[in-house]
């Protein structure tokens, strides 16, 4: 009997402790302080994959007179990779924006450019008393191919915006529902609900991918399902996309798949279905939506070809050129890797365009 009583006592005690803990936890719920300035989007320490981001700032219009935003870049010196990308862009490390404040408006949006690596957004607001309030947010733009930015530091995490909880903030001004019909694009592109916030994605560069330009986002690619490689993100966002994204791409590019399946040798990223590695699915300054011009793109992974030289050498040790000349076999383009190699699939060794004994004859005739 004693034993049972003791056990009961211990059980009751544990129950009380558990309840007490819960009560404590409930009491500690954070109540947001009524601050005059607040950065809602982007989230603190978040990772981005596209080089644009939209900033949302909430203010108290009664207290604040002036609002200013400054974006910082981390860059000290440009990598050879980045030198190609930021060739024509100014090397400024700070950019400033000023907002015009209206009396009734609570939320202010702005889309900004990001650069690879760490980006910092600083908001400076001056109240009517003359005080200055400073707030800042850090985020990281990572890239699937650039070696320096492939693996972001552990501090940064994948945080998504499109959840039901977050979308309530925007509902005052924006329509947050999906207004696409499956398989039929908009006659007037500006009517899409996605266009209003994300338009910088397709207006910045020369070559735009068709579904992105026609704003068929949620029905073609961002279908809300996860693939084999990103199951960890399941349910984190309404518009998550599956990775590997190959099956999604092949739904439209059917003939490519038929053609490629019959070939003998395959490029590894193609087999894995990681089209995203080389192609940017939204827009790009290069043809075929490549993330870099073709020679630079290939050599980010096949680096040894640059360091050691490629194919044959002269007696003095100079290698066969792989760029910088006119392509003799196709006068329209410049010499690069793809003038000899097939990028996706091939029937010949070394992924060549033609059998090995004919490949030299393409340029070196007689």
């Amino acid at each position: 009997m004693r034993n049972i009583l003791i056990l009961l006592c211990v059980g009751v005690c544990f129950a009380f402790i558990a309840e007490a803990e819960q009560k404590v936890y409930k009491l500690n719920l954070k109540v947001p302080a009524n601050e005059p300035v607040e950065i809602i989007q982007p989230a603190v320490n978040s990772i981005h994959y596209e080089d644009t981001a939209s900033v949302v700032i909430k203010i108290d219009p009664k207290k604040i007179e002036k609002l200013e935003m400054i974006t910082h870049f981390q860059v000290f010196h440009l990598d050879p990779d980045e030198r190609i990308i930021y060739k024509n862009k100014p090397k400024k490390r700070k950019e400033k924006f000023n907002f015009n404040i209206k009396e009734d408006k609570l939320y202010y949006c702005k889309s900004i450019e990001l650069r690879y690596g760490r980006n910092k957004i600083q908001v400076i607001a001056t109240t009517k008393d003359g005080k200055k309030i400073k707030k800042s947010v850090e985020m990281y733009l990572s890239s699937p191919i650039l070696r320096a930015y492939k693996y972001p530091p552990p501090k940064y995490k994948e945080i998504f915006f499109h959840k039901e909880k977050n979308e309530k903030v925007c509902e005052e001004c924006h329509d947050m529902t999906v207004n696409e019909k499956k398989g039929i694009a908009f006659e007037d592109v500006t009517k899409s609900n996605c266009y209003k916030c994300h338009k910088a994605l397709t207006t910045r560069y020369k070559y735009n991918h068709a579904p992105a330009r026609n704003w068929l986002c949620a029905t073609t690619c961002h279908i809300g399902k996860t693939g084999r490689l990103n199951k960890r993100l399941e349910g984190k966002s309404k518009f998550i996309w599956p990775e590997p994204q190959g099956p999604e791409c092949y739904r439209c590019h059917k003939e490519k798949r038929k053609e490629w399946d019959s070939k003998r040798f395959h490029h590894d990223p193609v087999v894995a279905g990681m089209c995203d590695k080389c192609h940017n699915p939204h827009s790009s300054p290069n043809r075929y939506f490549l993330r870099k011009p073709s020679w630079y793109l290939c050599t980010t992974c096949h680096e040894d070809k640059v360091l050691r030289g490629h194919v044959v050498f002269t007696f003095l040790g100079r290698p066969h050129p792989t760029r910088g000349y006119k392509d003799p076999s196709n006068p329209k383009r410049e010499l690069s890797c793809i003038s000899c190699h097939e990028a996706h699939n091939s029937d010949n060794n070394f992924m060549l365009l033609k059998p090995f004994n004919q490949i030299c004859n393409m340029c070196h005739k007689k």
Partner: protein, 538 residues
């Protein structure tokens, strides 16, 4: 030693410098010409000259690439091969002609053999007719066909006769030997009709409704001039209402069915039959019965009779209307109609009577569009639909009975977006639109060939040539369109519809589909578009 000194003394004259010089010159003169000849034969000077020339060219003149010296045949040049079909060499054509003539001769010989083998017709029994004077006056003058008893003057077989052999007259009637007419007929014509279905007059025993017992101008002693006219005397839609007959045939129509027009007995038995509708054969009247004739090809040149069985039964893509409730009779009026091809309604309306809603295609599970709505919404129609009588309506492109090509089209056609350049000549559109230059010429100067050009650059050529040649259906809608030239509302890229957004100006236009951004074209002042795919090396 002395000997050696003597020999050396002989060479004293060599101490003279002039002699030595002369000797050297002479030696050179003797050696150089044979050396020169030898070198020339081995082509040494030419080769050295070439090498020197190349070195000079490389070092002092402009830099070049191998393609400048040796002609490189580019893919584009290969594509400019003409599409025109190759003709057979004259030798083979002659051989074909010869074989054809031989075949003709063989046919003639076979026919002659057949005629020789065929049995000769038997001589008919001749019945002695009565002299003309003995017929009663009412029956004169005599007609072509006579009932045999009437011809012989044996009136007593049917009629009651008095002692002198004359027919008795009671009032207006001439009484018969038996109370009923059919009993009288069957007493001689002993095959009694005892099959499943009877023609109503036969059932009632009214032989005289159709036949004349004495004489007639037509065979079988019929009352009317031809068989169809006889049948129509009851089955005409106007008369049928009075007589309460359900089955109706209208003969006075524009397009007649030949077997109906000639003789109803081609399909129907006028007396009795074991099969429904008094048909001759056991075949199902809906389809197999029709195909019994329409599988034979009589004159392939006239194209009036085409073998339809493969189209209907073995084709890949079948038309559901052919297999529905009434099968052939769904669309055709079997006995004849006022519209072409004996349709129930005129061509396009007949098709739209079903296609006024979205219909499911059985083979692929695809939903076919609501064609009636589509035609009402867009005002520019394709010519075959606009001018039905001239161009042939829907049947100009589709085969309504079935076909091996998708959408029951008559010839090869794909709905795919890309088709390699040279194959494009095989697509069905080219059987009417024969302007070859539109797709083969790179530069065009006149409006006659195309208006779709930027300056002199032929944009039709640019869109259709090469490995990524687009099909017609990528830009054009074959049925109806909002804009002239049948430009469609959407391009279908593997299941996604992208709007074309075409705009027309006086000397050009612009479009902004999914394939590229908004591109302009202008015939007079060529436009350079941003993001154009044509890139040249700088």
């Amino acid at each position: 030693m002395e000997k050696i000194k003597k020999i050396l003394g002989m060479f004293k004259f060599l101490k003279n410098k002039k002699v030595i010089l002369i000797l050297i010159v002479l030696g050179f003169l003797a050696i150089i010409p044979p050396l020169g000849i030898y070198a020339w034969k081995k082509r040494i000077p030419q080769k050295t000259a070439l090498v020197l020339k190349n070195i000079v060219h490389n070092v002092f003149l402009e830099k070049h690439h191998p393609g400048d010296i040796y002609g490189v045949v580019h893919i584009e040049e290969m594509e400019e091969v003409e599409l025109s079909k190759l003709k057979l060499p004259p030798k083979e054509e002659e051989e074909i002609k010869k074989t054809k003539e031989l075949e003709k001769e063989l046919k003639k010989l076979k026919e002659e053999e057949k005629l020789a083998k065929a049995p000769k017709p038997k001589p008919k029994k001749v019945v002695k007719p009565l002299p003309l004077e003995e017929y009663p006056k009412e029956f004169l003058p005599l007609k072509k066909v006579l009932h045999r008893p009437f011809k012989q003057g044996a009136c007593a077989i049917c009629h009651q006769v008095d002692e002198h052999g004359k027919v008795i007259k009671k009032g207006k009637k001439y009484p018969l030997n038996r109370p009923r007419v059919d009993e009288l007929c069957y007493s001689c014509h002993k095959e009694r009709y005892v099959k499943k279905y009877d023609h109503k007059p036969v059932k009632k025993g009214e032989c005289l409704k159709c036949h004349d017992p004495h004489q007639s101008n037509t065979e079988k002693l019929l009352k009317a001039k031809t068989v169809p006219l006889l049948c129509v005397s009851c089955h005409d839609p106007k008369k049928a209402k009075k007589l309460k007959i359900e089955k109706v045939v209208n003969i006075n129509v524009k397009y007649k069915h030949k077997p109906v027009d000639k003789d109803c007995r081609n399909c129907h038995d006028p007396h009795t039959s074991d099969y429904k509708h008094l048909l001759i054969t056991a075949l199902d009247w809906k389809m197999d019965f029709c195909l019994d004739c329409h599988s034979k090809i009589k004159d392939p040149k006239k194209r009036k009779k085409v073998d339809i069985t493969p189209l209907i039964k073995t084709a890949k893509y079948k038309h559901d209307a052919v297999f529905d409730k009434d099968e052939c009779a769904n669309c055709h009026n079997i006995h004849g109609s006022n519209h072409r091809i004996m349709l129930k309604k005129p061509m396009v309306k007949q098709c739209l009577s079903c296609h006024d809603k979205e219909v499911k295609q059985k083979e692929t599970g695809e939903m076919l569009i609501n064609m009636k709505k589509h035609l009402e919404e867009n005002k520019y129609w394709h010519k075959p639909i606009k001018e039905v009588e001239k161009k042939g309506g829907c049947a100009a492109c589709h085969n309504p009975h079935g076909s091996n090509y998708p959408y029951a089209l008559k010839k090869f056609f794909t709905t795919e977006f890309y088709l390699p350049g040279l194959k494009i000549g095989e697509v069905m559109c080219f059987s009417c639109h024969k302007e070859k230059e539109r797709f083969t010429m790179k530069k065009v100067f006149s409006d006659k060939i195309t208006k779709f050009r930027n300056g002199t650059e032929n944009l039709h050529w640019r869109h259709t040539q090469g490995e990524k040649g687009r099909t017609c259906i990528a830009c054009h809608d074959p049925h109806a369109s909002k804009w002239p030239n049948m430009i469609g509302k959407y391009t279908n890229f593997n299941g996604i519809l992208f709007p074309i957004r075409y705009k027309k100006t006086e000397t050009g236009g612009s479009c902004a589909p999914a394939c590229h951004d908004k591109f302009d074209y202008d015939r007079i002042r060529p436009v350079k578009n941003v993001g154009e795919i044509k890139e040249s090396f700088k």
